[in-house]
Amino acid sequence: MMDTILFGLTIGAILYLISIGLSLTFGTMKVINFAHGLVYALGVYFYISLLPRLGSFLPAVILSVALVIPVSYLIERLVVRRLYGQSIDYAIIATYAVLLIGTDAIKIVYGAVPYPLSAPIRGSFSFLGASLPIYRTLIVAAAVLVFLGLTLFFKKSMVGKVVTAALDDQEGVRCLGLRVEKYFSIIFMIGSGLAALGGILYAPISAAHPYMGFYILLMAFAVVIVGGMGNMKGTFIAAFALGLLISITGRIYSQAAEVMVFVAMALVLLFRPIEDSSH
């Protein structure tokens, strides 16, 4: 059972890293950003390119995430920023187009064949009678650290406070004289960097392929809806809850594992109105 729980927590950790950017983008900018799936995949492919050159896991991860930041800046500046205040349909169409174009670009450069990666840290440790892989445990720890770091960032930094204020009352922030777009842009890049990190951490226990962003995006949207759009704590709890739901359902009846995520999402949509700025 412990290995099932750890598997669920690992999925939850990855879902959290990907969902938090989506959640903040929607909470602040009211933009549904399908291009998030692209930066998730792009981070992995940058990692695939850099790992052989750098020869070491951590520098390759850091540089890959760093390379995703300017790409996400361009997506925000050239596409997403033009969609502020527009109908949500335009955002879906435009960012989905970015995802399609980016995915095809990855296919052109790397090909469409899945690329297997091995876990950078092998081995396991014993806990409550179960043998738990160290790498998966580190993924969970990384997600918890990111959550704590983001919580601290939003509580202590001025950028974080401005964004928190904008989640409450965007017009109020603007009327004080602050250009919210500048702060949203920073949040967009942080969210994109975390999605790339999630992709890189997950790829060794799944596989890299150009369409990997499409699949995970649906799961991430489910997390955002269950956790509450723009709700940082809710996203964290929802990601781990849904990760555990996948793994426990998978243990009982594997075919239903991922379906349960969308069942949970449907239940939330049925019984709770969507909040756009809750904390």
């Binding site: 001025m158 406070k161 401005v162 928190t164 204020a165 989640l167 409450d168 009352d169 017009e171 109020g172 922030v173 603007r174 009327c175 004080l176 004289g177 602050l178 250009r179 919210v180 904390h279």
Partner: protein, 229 residues
């Protein structure tokens, strides 16, 4: 100081303001009265840059500001306090004021001191979440936030709406202290407040300015002004 000239504003095809002209002179406290739907809030939102006029001009210190964003207008010295008493509820009282200090480039200590001078009870409330404040305290916090950057003009939308009379007295006192130090354009339906503070009153009806009351005797007779609501 602030001159609005023949301003039209529409929401889609529905025109809400028609040829609105008015002015606010330095240090003046000007009130706008009128029934719900008269266009008072639209007027303030247009001046502060949340809405753009279809036609007409808005000049602030002789410079045109119509069409500028809310951020730019705030930086020029016009602060807007919205009607909905919507503070940054996830932040503390101190952080709300900190936000205003950051936006205006003022030292946080100066802004906190200024806020406590305005409303001494804030001293004990600094670490409280602003979302937990009463309606009156929220309004006072919003006014304190708007004043943090020492603006030249404050636009305040219905500051006493929905508040208990004891809180209205606090707000009245606060606005009275501001008289002469900052220019105000205030939308208000409580004519008792208007009669005690106004230097001039504009009456709005269905998107038009239908009257301008300048006679102090007429302004102080709020019972007579009731005909405009």
């Amino acid at each position: 100081m602030l001159a609005i000239d023949k301003v039209d504003v529409s929401y889609g095809h529905a025109q809400v303001l028609h040829q609105v002209s008015m002015e606010v002179r330095k240090g003046e406290m000007v009130f706008v009265v009128g029934r719900n739907g008269a266009g008072k809030t639209t007027l303030l939102k247009t001046i502060c840059g949340l809405l753009s006029p279809g036609q007409g001009t808005i000049h602030y210190q002789e410079q045109p500001i119509q069409g500028l964003g809310a951020e730019a207008i705030a930086q020029k010295g016009i602060q807007y306090v919205a009607q909905d008493k919507r503070v940054f509820q996830s932040l503390t009282v101190r952080e709300n004021l900190e936000m205003a200090a950051y936006a205006s480039g003022k030292a946080i200590d100066t802004v906190l001191e200024q806020a406590v001078n305005l409303y001494p009870m804030f001293e004990k409330m600094m670490q409280r979440k602003a979302g937990g404040l009463s309606g009156g305290q929220r309004e006072i916090l919003l006014i304190a936030r708007a004043l943090a950057g020492s603006p030249e003009v404050v636009l305040i939308d219905e500051p006493t709406e929905g508040l208990a009379s004891i809180v209205i007295d606090d707000i009245l006192e606060m606005l009275r202290e501001l008289k002469g130090t900052v220019s105000g354009l205030i939308v208000e339906q409580n004519l008792a407040v208007v009669s005690r503070l106004a230097d001039r009153v504009y009456v709005m009806k269905e998107g038009y300015i239908v009257n301008e009351i300048t006679d102090p005797a007429e302004i102080s007779n709020f019972a007579a002004m009731g005909q405009y609501l």
